[in-house]
C-alpha cells in the first residue's frame, strides 16, 4: 500500500571520505579512496587487511566529553551537522516530540578487548570501560545530548541497521508518534570485528572491488550519518521546505542462513518490492540503485541477480569503494549519499570496479553519470538474513 512521504529536512554524514556530507560527495566525485592498513590497532595476520579509517576524530560536544564511545561521538557529530542543516537547535526542540532511531553494531557490543584481557589475567580491569559501554547506547547518547523526550531506539540488525533506522523513523513520523526523528547509524572501526570478518574469509587484502570479476571481499570502514525526518505540520510551523522524502521502506528476512544471503535474494526481493509499493512507484521511475555492494562473492551475486530481475534498467553502484563497509552506519551513509546524488543529478563511479563478472551478467556504473529521474533506491543486506530497502525521492509525488 502507498504510504505518505516523510520529509527529510537535514543530513549529516562523516566517513573516511570526509567529515561532512559535502566533503564526502566531493571525494566520491573526485574518485578519492582513503584506504590503508588500520592505524588505531594492529593485528597479527600474515597480510594486512586495509580499512577506511577516518583521518580526524569527531569533535566532542560539551556533554559528551564524559566517557562515551567513539561510535557515539560519530553519531553525535552526524546529528549536529544534520540538525544545523535542518535549521534546528536544541531550544527549538524543547517540548516537541523528538525521537531518536539509530543503527549500530559495534556501538552495542560489550566486547572491549583490553578489559577482557585484564579480566582474564586477574589484573583488576578498569571499570570506566564498562561505564563507558553502559553510558554509550548510541540513541540514548543523542537523546541525552539534546534533552529529548521521545522514543529512543538503537537498532542492531547488523549491516542493515542504518537503513532500518530510517524506515522505522519514518513510521514514527507517519503515525504521529513524533514530530521529528533523528534517524541514522554510527559505527567505529574495532579490532574484534576486524578479526571477525577476516575469520569469515570475506575481507579483501587490497582495496575492495564491488561487482568486479576479481572481487575478494570487503574492507571495513567507520562513520555515521543522520537524516532529520520531520512531520508536515512541524515543517509548516517552522516555515521550512523538505530536502527530500522517504517514499517507501521494505524489510524482510531470508530465513536461510546466519551469514550468507539467500541465493535467489528471497528477502531482498520482498524488501525491494515493499519499498516500491509504499512509494507508489515502479521500476521505470527509479534513477539508480545505491546497492549494499560489499564486494563479497555472495552478496554481489545475490544483489545483481535481484536487480536484473526487478530493476533491469536502473543503473546501480556501490559506494563502499569510498567508505568501506561501515556496518551499522552503512545504510544511513548510503541513504545520505543517495539523496545528495539525486540533488546533484549525478552519480559517481563504482570505485574499485575494473573487470565485468560474466557470472553476474550486469555491471555497475563505471564513470560519473547524469541522472534525470527523481527517485532512487538504497538497499542493505545483513547477517541474520535481514534485508532492507528505502525508496528516496526529491518530490512528494
Amino acid at each position: 500500500m502507498k504510504r505518505a512521504p516523510v520529509a527529510i529536512t537535514g543530513i549529516g554524514c562523516l566517513s573516511a571520505a570526509g567529515m561532512t556530507l559535502k566533503e564526502n560527495m566531493a571525494s566520491l566525485f573526485s574518485g578519492a579512496r582513503h584506504v590503508a592498513p588500520p592505524k588505531r590497532f594492529s593485528g597479527s595476520h600474515p597480510v594486512s587487511y586495509p580499512v577506511f579509517e577516518m583521518s580526524e576524530d569527531p569533535v566532542p560536544t560539551r556533554k559528551s566529553k564524559d566517557n562515551i564511545s567513539r561510535t557515539c561521538g560519530l553519531g553525535l557529530a552526524a546529528t549536529i551537522e544534520a540538525l544545523t542543516d535542518a535549521g534546528l537547535e536544541a531550544e527549538g526542540m524543547a517540548g516537541v516530540k523528538v525521537g531518536v532511531c539509530m543503527g549500530t553494531t559495534v556501538g552495542s557490543a560489550m566486547n572491549n578487548e583490553e578489559f577482557y584481557r585484564n579480566y582474564r589475567n586477574d589484573l583488576h580491569p578498569d571499570m570506566a570501560i564498562i561505564e563507558r559501554f553502559l553510558n554509550g547506547n548510541p540513541a540514548s547518547v543523542i537523546a541525552r545530548e539534546f534533552s529529548l523526550s521521545g522514543p529512543c531506539q538503537t537498532i542492531v540488525n547488523a549491516c542493515s541497521s542504518g537503513t532500518d533506522a530510517i524506515g522505522i523513523g519514518a513510521s514514527w513520523i507517519r503515525s504521529g508518534r513524533c514530530d521529528i526523528v533523528i534517524a541514522g547509524g554510527a559505527d567505529e572501526l574495532c579490532r574484534v570485528t576486524y578479526n571477525g570478518f577476516i575469520s569469515l574469509m570475506i575481507s579483501d587484502d587490497s582495496a575492495c572491488r564491488p561487482f568486479d570479476r576479481n572481487r575478494k571481499g570487503l574492507n571495513l570502514g567507520e562513520g555515521a550519518a543522520v537524516l532529520i525526518l520531520e512531520s508536515d505540520n512541524f515543517i509548516r510551523k517552522r516555515n521550512k521546505t523538505a530536502r527530500a522524502f522517504v517514499l517507501g521502506y521494505g524489510s524482510a528476512c531470508d530465513g536461510y542462513h546466519l551469514t550468507a544471503p539467500h541465493p535467489d535474494g528471497k528477502g531482498l526481493k520482498k524488501a525491494l518490492a515493499d519499498a516500491l509499493l509504499e512509494s507508489g512507484k515502479t521500476g521505470k521511475d527509479i534513477a539508480f540503485v545505491n546497492t549494499h555492494g560489499t564486494a563479497t562473492r555472495d552478496n554481489d551475486r545475490t544483489e545483481v541477480k535481484v536487480l536484473r530481475e526487478m530493476l533491469p534498467n536502473a543503473p546501480f553502484l556501490s559506494t563502499k569503494g569510498y567508505t568501506g563497509h561501515t556496518l551499522g552506519a552503512a545504510g544511513a551513509i548510503e541513504a545520505a549519499f543517495t539523496v545528495a546524488c539525486l540533488e546533484s543529478g549525478m552519480i559517481p563511479a563504482n570505485a574499485g570496479f575494473a573487470e565485468p563478472d560474466p557470472e553476474l551478467g550486469a555491471s555497475p556504473v563505471t564513470g560519473i553519470a547524469n541522472i534525470q529521474k527523481k527517485i532512487a533506491i538504497s538497499e542493505s543486506l545483513a547477517f541474520g538474513g535481514d534485508n532492507a530497502a528505502l525508496a528516496l525521492g526529491m518530490e512528494r509525488e
Binding site: 557490543a109 566486547n111 503515525s175 571477525g196 577476516i198 521494505g250 528471497k266
Partner: protein, 364 residues
C-alpha cells in the same frame, strides 16, 4: 486498532512456560541456583536465576541446535513456547514480523569469541563464534527455524529495550505492514557480567531480592526470554489481553499519565540507585506490584512483567508481590491476590537517568 496478545512463551529462573510462571506467582518465590562454572571464563558471582533450555528439543531436533548458543536457544525456546501457547498457528504464508529485544546480546559468545583470539591468535579467531555473537543472531536463528520471511528487527536499548521494541512492533501492526508479530526479549547471564556486578556492587547477597529498598543493593542476576505472539486479529483476543499503549519518555518532562485506576507493575529489581526513582515517582497510595524476585535482575525484565500482566488480566486477578518486596509508605504494594475486574495494568520501567518505558495492557 486493537493489538492482542494471543500467545506467551517464557523461560527463566522460574521455569519454562506460562504454567510454571503461574506456579511461581502463586507460590510467591523462585529458587535461585548456584552458577555452573562453564558459563564463560572466570569465576561465578553468586546465586542467579538461570534458565534451562532442555525443553527446546521438543520443538527442534538436538542436532540442529549444536551450533546455536545458550542466548539464542533461550530466544528460540521463548518463541516456540509463544506459538505453542497460541495453538501453533502456521506462520507459512502469513505476514509475520519478528522483533527481538536484548540489553546485552549474546554475552557468553561475545567473550568466547574474544577467547578464541586471545588463546590462539588473530588468525585463529572463530568464525562460528563471531557470527553467533552479533546481536541479531537470535532473530536470525528464529527466522531460519520458523521459515519467516517478514520484517525483522533487533533492538538493544538496555533497560528500555522492551518498550522501545514494542513501539515498533505495534506500529508494524497498526500500519498494516504485517498481520502478526512474534515479539520477544532475551538476555543471558555470564561470568564477566557477574564480575562487573561484584566490582560495582560488592559481593553477592544472601539470595533474597528486596526491590524498592533504596538503602540496600539486593539485585540478583537473572536470565531468560519472554515472547509474545501479537495479532490484529480480535478472534484471539480472549487468550490474554490487548496492548493498549506503549510509551517512552523522560520523567522530568510531563511525567507519566497512567489510565485512571490502573494497576502498576514496577520494574524495580533491587538495584538501589535504580529503585529510588520508583519510590519518588509513584503517587501516594498507588496500587502497585513488583515481581522481579521471581525472575531476577536483567535488562529485559519488563518483558516478564508484561507476561505477568497478561496472565493477571486473563485470570481477572492480580497476584501478590513476592514477600521480599519492601513496603513503602508512599506505595500501596500489592501483598495479597485480589480480583481486578476490567482494570488495565501498566508495566513501568524507569532508567537511572530519568527515562521511562511503559507498556499498558488491558482486557479489551
Amino acid at each position: 486498532m486493537g493489538i492482542y496478545i494471543t500467545g506467551i512463551g517464557v523461560v527463566g529462573g522460574f521455569g519454562c512456560g506460562v504454567t510454571e510462571l503461574l506456579a511461581c506467582l502463586e507460590n510467591g518465590a523462585t529458587p535461585v541456583k548456584e552458577l555452573p562454572a562453564s558459563r564463560s571464563h572466570g569465576s561465578a558471582y553468586g546465586p542467579a536465576f538461570l534458565a534451562d533450555t532442555s525443553y527446546l528439543e521438543t520443538f527442534v531436533p538436538k542436532k540442529s541446535l549444536r551450533r546455536i548458543d545458550h542466548f539464542s536457544q533461550m530466544a528460540i525456546l521463548g518463541a516456540y513456547l509463544a506459538l505453542q501457547d497460541a495453538g501453533m498457528p502456521s506462520l507459512t504464508g502469513q505476514r509475520t514480523g519478528l522483533v527481538v529485544c536484548s540489553g546485552y546480546g549474546a554475552a557468553n559468545t561475545t567473550f568466547s569469541f574474544l577467547d578464541s583470539i586471545i588463546d590462539n591468535g588473530d588468525v585463529c579467531a572463530s568464525p562460528t563464534l563471531f557470527s553467533n555473537s552479533v546481536h541479531n543472531a537470535a532473530a536470525g536463528h528464529i527466522s531460519i527455524l520458523m521459515e519467516l520471511d517478514g520484517p525483522c528487527l533487533t533492538v538493544s536499548q538496555f533497560e528500555m529495550s522492551v518498550s522501545s521494541g514494542l513501539i515498533s512492533a505495534c506500529l508494524w501492526l497498526e500500519e498494516g505492514r504485517v498481520d502478526q508479530v512474534l515479539f520477544g526479549a532475551v538476555d543471558e547471564y555470564c561470568n564477566v557480567l557477574g564480575y562487573c556486578w561484584r566490582r560495582f556492587f560488592g559481593e553477592g547477597n544472601n539470595g533474597i531480592m528486596t526491590p524498592l529498598s533504596p538503602d540496600r543493593q539486593s539485585a540478583i542476576p537473572g536470565e531468560g526470554a519472554a515472547f509474545f505472539l501479537l495479532s490484529r486479529d480480535k478472534a484471539g483476543s480472549s487468550r490474554y489481553a490487548s496492548v493498549r499503549d506503549v510509551r517512552m519518555g523522560r520523567l522530568d518532562d510531563n511525567g507519566i499519565s497512567c489510565p485512571e485506576d490502573a494497576i502498576l507493575i514496577l520494574g524495580a529489581d533491587g538495584h538501589s540507585r535504580c529503585d529510588e526513582p520508583y519510590i519518588n515517582f509513584i503517587s501516594q497510595g498507588t496500587e502497585a506490584a513488583c515481581y522481579s524476585p521471581l525472575y531476577g535482575s536483567l535488562p529485559i525484565g519488563q518483558a516478564f512483567d508484561m507476561a505477568i500482566a497478561a496472565l493477571s488480566i486473563k485470570k481477572g486477578r492480580i497476584f501478590a508481590s513476592p514477600g521480599a518486596v519492601a513496603r513503602q509508605d508512599s506505595i500501596n504494594i500489592i501483598k495479597e491476590d485480589h480480583l481486578i475486574g476490567s482494570k488495565s495494568i501498566c508495566c513501568l520501567k524507569l532508567g537511572k537517568e530519568g527515562e521511562f518505558g511503559m507498556a499498558t495492557l488491558s482486557p479489551k
